[in-house]
């Protein structure tokens, strides 16, 4: 009776949702790379506009995107502070004791903070509009070229798929074991950290044992159905690039063109 949402997929019927997962993954990687090449604030404004348009098309309510930001809020604050306090070059803006804040530091901090926020929002759009399984398929495809140097692309993807498949099962199992131990008077809610950690033993040991049992069963069932890795393996759902995928790529290319042009102009005009 438990409903578990894996990852953060937000179901909607939009252009972005329908895109091929491989294309979405590729576009996200390109977008993130571009973010790190952008040096001036007009470029960031452009990137923000691009993100805003993509969000609008994806029909994902913006609050879902900010939810992802909340989780890494501290990392953003931390990097911003590092940049402010440890950049020693440039004109000094403020100096108290050993703390010296420079204009370059402030600019770097703002740059880094903006980059991180956009990076998170950009990748959130990918995970919000792509189911974990589609994403795994895309990753498998992306890792294919590395197979030559011994990266087990198919195996990694299969492992991820199985892990995703078993999350709800394990949650259900955990709920059951938790109830069984609670029926024996176990208490998971009160006490200090050590007591709480100890109270997890009656939960984790049975959970581990049942995971191993499930893994054994699954391995046997896969072998019984002649699973032998990716040699000669075909897919039930073939991934096919459609017109819309190239439209998306075209839109990204347009964005990059604008960014490069801006960067060039900014250099000439001497803006940050």
């Amino acid at each position: 009776m438990l409903k578990v949402t894996i990852g953060q997929y937000y179901h909607a019927d939009s252009f972005i949702h329908k895109l091929d997962a491989r294309m979405k993954l590729l576009c996200t990687i390109i977008f993130i790379t571009v973010l790190f090449f952008v040096g001036n604030f007009l470029g960031y404004a452009l990137a923000a506009l691009y993100l805003a348009i993509v969000i609008k098309i994806s029909k994902v309510p913006p609050r879902f995107l900010f939810r992802g930001l909340r989780a890494i809020f501290f990392i953003i604050i931390f990097t911003t502070f590092l940049n402010i306090f440890f950049t020693q070059v440039g004109n000094v803006v403020l100096e108290i004791g050993f703390i010296r804040i420079t204009d370059v530091g402030l600019v770097n901090a703002a740059r880094m903070g903006t980059r991180l926020v956009m990076l998170i929002i950009g990748s959130s759009i990918l995970t919000l509009t792509t189911t974990p399984i589609q994403l795994t398929d895309a990753i498998e495809f992306g890792l294919k070229p590395f197979k030559k140097i011994g990266v087990p692309a198919h195996e990694i993807a299969m492992m991820m798929t199985i892990a995703l498949r078993f999350i709800p099962t394990l949650v259900e199992e955990m709920d059951k074991i938790m109830k069984a131990q609670m029926a024996r008077g176990a208490d998971f809610d009160t006490g200090g950290i050590i007591k709480k950690a100890r109270s997890l033993v009656p939960l984790l040991v049975p959970l581990f044992i049942s995971s191993f049992r499930r893994a054994d069963d699954l391995a046997l069932a896969m072998e019984a159905r002649c699973y032998r890795g990716d040699i000669g393996r075909t897919r039930m759902k073939q991934m096919k690039l459609k017109t819309r995928d190239f439209q998306a790529l075209g839109f990204l290319a347009l964005f990059i063109a604008f960014v490069v042009a801006l960067e060039y102009l900014a250099n000439i005009w001497g803006i940050w």
């Binding site: 409903k3 074991i177 029926a183 024996r184 008077g185 208490d187 049975p206 044992i209």
Partner: protein, 283 residues
């Protein structure tokens, strides 16, 4: 020690699209020392019902009164209620975790804050009732056979000295010998410890052999209730729910239809043998 369930309704995921009414206005009264059978197929609401009995689920609508106490009303009484109503889940051996059998059975009583001495005594008593001999107390529970593991797990609940023992499908997945062993032990406990036992099962044969009274649950409602003879006579009603009567009841019915003078209300093999012999001896 009576259990009174009044107007109990339970809805899962209330207010969400997955809303499901698992229990619908259930009313049950169980007297002290009764042996109750609870029948219903998967998803009928039996698991939800028994989880209410020791407040793993709190009654949202309706109430459960055990010994005059409304359980679920006072959070500080949770542990006391859970030791009073022992709940053995399906496949209880999956909850074993300790290094030794002894320690695992002691988990319940030590959670209750019972002294080491008393705990030791309780563990030994509980293991004796389920038929685990003292020379393997220090073995790992994971070395045991399936049936033994299950008996150790049941002992883990018994060691809390419950007054009511609720067992969810205690024979699921066991071979016939393991099943007979477990059911025999449960019968012993009921008689020797004067426990109130609630047995949840799919197996009509198991239920027929043991219980005083039966509740049949369907779509969250009590569909039928009464003595085994009354319930097992209602073959059509049981089949309508997707259950069946005992095999013996079917044999008795066929014999009656074929013209043999058998009385109504036969549902155990022992009983039918006795009646057939009577018939045969008359000739």
């Amino acid at each position: 020690m009576s259990i009174k369930i009044e107007n109990l309704t339970h809805i899962y995921s209330k207010g969400s699209p997955f809303e499901k009414k698992a229990l619908d206005n259930v009313n049950i009264t169980i007297e002290k020392g009764e042996f109750i059978g609870l029948i219903g197929h998967t998803g009928s609401g039996k698991s939800t019902l028994i989880q209410h009995l020791n407040v793993l689920l709190r009654p949202e609508t309706g109430s459960i009164i055990i010994d005059g106490e409304n359980i679920g009303a006072d959070k500080s009484r949770l542990k006391a209620i859970r030791s009073k109503v022992g709940l053995v889940f399906q496949y209880p051996e999956h909850q074993l975790f300790e290094m030794t059998i002894f320690k695992d059975v002691a988990f319940g009583p030590s959670n209750m804050g019972i002294s080491a001495e008393e705990t030791k005594k309780r563990v030994e008593d509980a293991l004796e009732i389920v038929g685990i001999s003292p020379d393997i107390y220090e073995k790992s529970p994971f070395e045991l056979s399936g049936g033994q593991k299950r008996r150790v797990a049941i002992a883990g609940v018994l060691a809390m000295k419950p007054e009511v023992l609720v067992l969810d499908e205690p024979t699921a997945g066991l071979d016939p010998r393991g099943r007979d062993e477990i059911l025999g032990r449960i019968k012993d406990m009921h008689e020797k410890l004067n426990l109130t036992v609630i047995l949840v099962s799919h197996s009509m044969e198991d239920i027929a052999r043991l219980v005083d009274r039966i509740f049949v649950i369907n779509h969250g409602k009590i569909a039928l209730s009464g003595k085994p003879a009354e319930i097992f006579a209602q073959i059509e009603a049981l089949e309508e729910i997707g259950l069946a009567s005992t095999q013996t009841a079917y044999v008795a019915k066929s014999l009656q239809e074929a013209g043999f003078m058998l009385p109504d209300g036969i549902y155990t093999p022992e009983h039918i043998v006795e009646e057939i012999l009577k018939e045969v001896n008359k000739c």
